[in-house]
């Protein structure tokens, strides 16, 4: 790959700063939102851009997240490029409208700053909010750091708006751990972002199209199924649209964003799977164990929806044991969501790895390399003995 074609500007930004900056450069037609920690600073910063005239966005300060997402649906149906952001309980309050946005094929782009769902009440990170919405029909990308919070929002927006897809997209990053952590972020010039996302061309626009049409009428046993089948088709086109968007973005920046990323995994006997900021921490655990002579590696899962099953099978198929770490619990399920889907993706691999699951970090419980090394050590034991003691374990719980 050639180097970046555009000169970037390095800035010290938190995850929230980075997402707000990307939104500013996109300059969406409409943003409707309601504040909730740890998303609040993102919307506060964006509201300052609106106030200072740096964007000409219509900012709708709704009275709840249900209303915010409803306003997004209305705006997007009218033909506006629409964005928003939320976290945790606010995200939960959007729930029924999430499905409506997807089924109406409205490419709304949303940042979800991951935070534990109450109760008990907790403002810190886990993935219980966005993981609960994995079947809502949205594209879901998990960012590792402020750089990805910025980059993936742009990549996701372009893929969502692709007329073969026309589905909303959410980009996640970890509450506080990323949202409130300042790191070095390479930003594109405004013109480069505007050129990348291009002028908005809605497939259907109630207020712009000459021919009137109805949005969201009754749809019973006569056609509902066909419309759902079309929605599925949109999601089936998402991998290609994400790949095309990411390829164009890579041309601008030199940064490559596939559905997953591996680290020292080629010859690894044990591969950990992690999402979000923990993937970064896990690299240190990999390095420490590699130094001790253990063949371990990492697979960072970036795209959760559409789930990249074939790529996962290719990335993990050579391992003896796969350790899936998930920052969410799925009560009553056989393991966490990522565990269940990764394990399923490996079913037809010729020499199936054994797969174990660790639930970690709920409610923001600090997760350092030492904890992840514990998970790796159990993975190494499973790899050498061929025996799983427990499919699901808990990392760092007292």
């Amino acid at each position: 790959m050639a180097g970046p074609s555009v000169q970037s500007l390095k800035l010290p930004l938190t995850g929230n700063d980075a997402a707000a900056y990307a939104m500013k450069q996109v300059n969406p037609d409409v943003v409707a939102a309601y504040p909730i920690t740890p998303q609040t600073e993102l919307m506060q910063t964006f509201a300052e851009y609106v106030h200072d005239g740096e964007v000409d966005t219509e900012l709708i300060t709704a009275e709840s997240e249900h209303s915010a997402m409803s306003a997004c649906v209305g705006a997007a149906a009218a033909g506006a490029r629409t964005m928003t952001a939320t976290s945790a309980n606010g995200f939960a309050l959007m729930w029924e409208v999430l499905y409506i946005a997807a089924s109406l094929r409205l490419p709304i782009t949303m940042t979800v700053v991951n935070r534990a769902l109450s109760g008990p009440i907790n403002i810190h990170c886990d993935h219980s909010d966005s993981m609960g919405a994995r079947d809502a029909g949205w594209i879901q990308l998990y960012a590792e750091n402020p750089q990805e919070a910025y980059d993936l929002l742009l990549v996701a927006l372009k893929a969502a708006e692709n007329h073969d897809v026309l589905l909303p997209a959410m980009v996640m990053y970890d509450g506080f751990i990323i949202s409130h952590t300042m790191e070095v972020v390479e930003t594109l010039p405004d013109e480069a972002v505007r050129e990348f996302v291009g002028p908005y061309k809605p497939a259907y626009a109630m207020l712009l199209d000459k021919k009137p049409f109805t949005v969201g009428p009754l749809d019973f046993h006569d056609y509902y199924f066909e419309h759902k089948r079309q929605e599925i088709e949109g999601m089936l086109h998402a991998p290609a649209a994400l790949a095309a968007s990411a390829a164009e973005f890579e041309g601008l920046t030199g940064r490559s964003y596939g559905p997953l990323e591996t680290y020292r995994a080629d010859d690894a006997e044990v591969i950990m799977v992690a999402l979000g900021s923990t993937a970064g921490t896990a690299r240190y655990a990999v390095d420490a164990l590699r130094e001790q002579g253990h063949a371990v590696g990492l697979m960072k899962l970036r795209t959760f929806r559409p789930f990249p099953a074939a790529e996962i099978a290719a990335a993990l198929g050579g391992a003896k044991c796969v350790v899936v770490c998930d920052r969410v619990v799925s009560f009553g399920a056989f393991g966490s969501p990522t565990f269940a889907e990764v394990r399923s993706a490996l079913y037809e691999v010729p020499e199936r790895p054994l797969v174990i699951n660790y639930i970690y970090g709920l409610g923001g419980r600090d997760t350092g390399p030492d904890l992840l090394e514990q998970a790796f050590e159990e993975g190494l034991r499973v790899a050498s003995t061929g025996e799983i003691k427990e499919h699901v374990g808990y990392l760092g719980v007292r």
């Binding site: 010290p12 751990i177 409130h180 390399p369």
Partner: protein, 192 residues
Amino acid sequence: MPDDVLEIRWHGRGGQGVKTAAMLFAEAAFEGGKFIQGFSDYGPERSGAPIQGFTRVSDKPITLHNFITEPDVVVILDPTLLGTVPVAEGLRPGGKVLVNSSRDPAEVAAVLGVDASQVYVVDAKTISLEVMGRDMPNSPMIGALVKVLGTVELPWVNETFEKKFGAKSKTVVETNVAAIKRAYDEVRGTSK
């Protein structure tokens, strides 16, 4: 944790600018071309409650995303935390402790249970009161830390204050820069 990352843990109380100090020091390092992280531990936000901030500085990208539990340096903005909060917990062997205090380094070291050679003190409270007219120890502590570490340089700090606050108030920049310089000059350990 890793040898090629400088890890700083800041301790203070809500209202003393602990989070701001952790972020500003990171931004100053950024001005000097370093890779950085600046963040803090968000608890119930109460004035006076013990607060921790964190700064990482490296010449390479930093992908760790956990709290700093084995710091190279601990910076204590409020001397009343000594003996109350385990501020020196996890301090790396040979690590440094910088305290806002008018006492001697050896006295402070005895309270902390570390070697006197590891401790540096600066009377950030007095500097802050005299230069800025209020007890806001975070800026002077940044100046003292610049001297103790040598990793981040004073002009980078000054540039950071200019960029962040220059448009709002020249006085804010000038008084902070003056307090930072004075703390840089006045910080003392056992060897100097």
